[in-house]
């Protein structure tokens, strides 16, 4: 009750996390190496490409010291293909997230989403990464002149967002008090937007189905079903 914020992250917080994503830039000026908390940064030598965190890239772009190369999935062609996949090929499921690369060897730890460069110039072109909406909007605002066709990209992004939000909203019809809903490939900002609605629906359904749930538990207890680890977890979820 003390916190006025809703559970989950607010859009500015999601955008802040997204600013850690690496993007590819072409520097226009020399810049010495920087010692960042996330690791040292190599010196920038124009016209060599370099991968920087998004926040630094946006800063350099604003100071006209660099050009940002938009990631391949943010091109009109791949966005149109993904949009077509979303609306025509699979009207029920979301387009899958980028495939994970095979682990380099058995000894190293396989990398997954936040540590994989999903927005650099050599990212896969056929899938939307987790931060697609935030990253796309921020790049379109900060560096529209680095896109070939910024208006087209903006239009496609908006279309994709609408199509996917409609799917998320329709998903509640298959929800159940204990059931699930497949959300693979849903991005960070979309989750932040839909979270309060989906949790609200699940809470409401749970409240209605509470008596049935209790009756089922009662039956299980009578049938000698020993309360297992799972059972404890269920109790926790009810809070």
């Amino acid at each position: 009750m003390a916190l006025p914020l809703p559970p989950g992250l607010t859009p500015p917080e999601i955008a802040f996390i997204c600013e850690m994503e690496l993007v590819t830039i072409i520097p226009r000026q020399r810049l010495e190496g920087l010692e960042l908390l996330g690791g040292p940064l190599k010196p920038l030598n124009p016209p060599q490409r370099a991968s920087l965190p998004l926040w630094l890239a946006l800063l350099l772009k604003r100071q006209r010291r660099a050009n940002i190369i938009p990631p391949p999935w943010l091109s009109p062609d791949s966005l149109a293909a993904i949009l077509q996949f979303e609306t025509e090929s699979s009207p029920d499921a979301f387009s899958p997230p980028p495939r994970l690369p095979p682990p380099p060897s058995s000894t190293t730890i396989p990398l997954s989403s936040p540590f994989l460069p999903s927005s650099t110039a050599d990212a896969p072109a056929d899938a939307l990464p987790y931060h697609w909406l935030e990253l796309g909007s921020m790049l379109l605002e900060a560096a529209p002149d680095d896109f070939d066709d910024a208006d087209e990209v903006r239009k496609l992004l908006r279309g994709l967002r609408e199509a996917r939000m409609a799917k998320l909203r329709q998903g509640v019809e298959v929800l159940d008090a204990g059931g699930g809903f497949k959300m693979n490939g849903v991005g960070g900002m979309e989750l932040g937007e839909a979270r309060s609605f989906i949790t609200g629906v699940v809470d409401g359904l749970r409240k209605i189905g509470k008596s049935r749930e209790e009756a089922r538990r009662e039956r299980e207890r009578e049938n000698g079903y020993s309360p297992s680890q799972n059972y404890e977890d269920d109790e926790m979820d009810m809070r």
């Binding site: 809703p6 607010t10 859009p11 500015p12 955008a15 909007s137 921020m138 605002e141 939000m165 909203r169 329709q170 509640v172 019809e173 929800l175 159940d176 008090a177 900002m189 932040g192 937007e193 839909a194 979270r195 309060s196 609605f197 609200g200 629906v201 409401g204 359904l205 409240k207 209605i208 189905g209 509470k210 008596s211 049935r212 009756a215």
Partner: protein, 178 residues
């Protein structure tokens, strides 16, 4: 549901029809009969909290409960049939402002598999419309106004939550432009 939850208190204050199974001396004021006794078999509308306690308590000698509870009119078969036919057109707020909370409380007292199904299905069907209205700023004022007026208190909270999150994303989108 905490102790100070206003919605829970208001739900408990809903009137439910009760039938007295025993003659109780001095309770006539419940019927408007200031000094008399309440007769066996008389029907009175009591708040849910009182009716529930009286229905659960048993007289020591006979073992029968003091009153027998009945379904409140908001959960009558007529309403459930209307919800089954098309949940979106029912004005829940006119029936009871805390429709689903009352439903959940009644379901704790009666075992009704079918009522759980009907309530969950109508909650889901109406939630989809609520989400559409919350993301569409014109819908809630224009053609959707009638539907929005008929939302129960739970659904209003749901609408507010999804409207706020949609608004937060829109605000962020305009903020990065400056």
């Amino acid at each position: 549901m905490t102790y100070y939850d206003v919605d829970a208190i208001l739900t408990d204050a809903q009137k439910v029809p009760c039938t007295f199974e025993l003659t109780v001396p001095g309770l006539g004021f419940l019927e408007g009969n200031m000094s008399g006794d309440i007769k066996h078999g008389s029907k009175v509308e009591l708040p849910l909290w009182l009716g529930e306690m009286l229905a659960l308590s048993q007289s020591l000698s006979t073992g029968t409960p003091l009153v027998s509870l009945d379904h409140p009119p908001a959960l009558s078969p007529r309403v459930l049939n209307a919800l089954k036919a098309d949940a979106r057109t029912v004005d829940l707020r006119a029936l009871v402002p805390h429709f689903y909370n009352l439903g959940a409380r009644v379901l704790e007292l009666f075992e009704e598999e079918e009522m759980i199904e009907v309530l969950s299905d109508s909650f889901k069907a109406r939630a989809a419309v609520i989400a559409d209205q919350a993301h569409n700023p014109r819908g809630a004022l224009g053609e959707g106004a009638d539907f929005m007026r008929g939302l129960d208190e739970n659904e209003r909270q749901l609408f507010r939550a999804s409207h706020d999150s949609a608004k937060a994303v829109r605000t962020w989108m305009t903020d990065i432009k400056t």
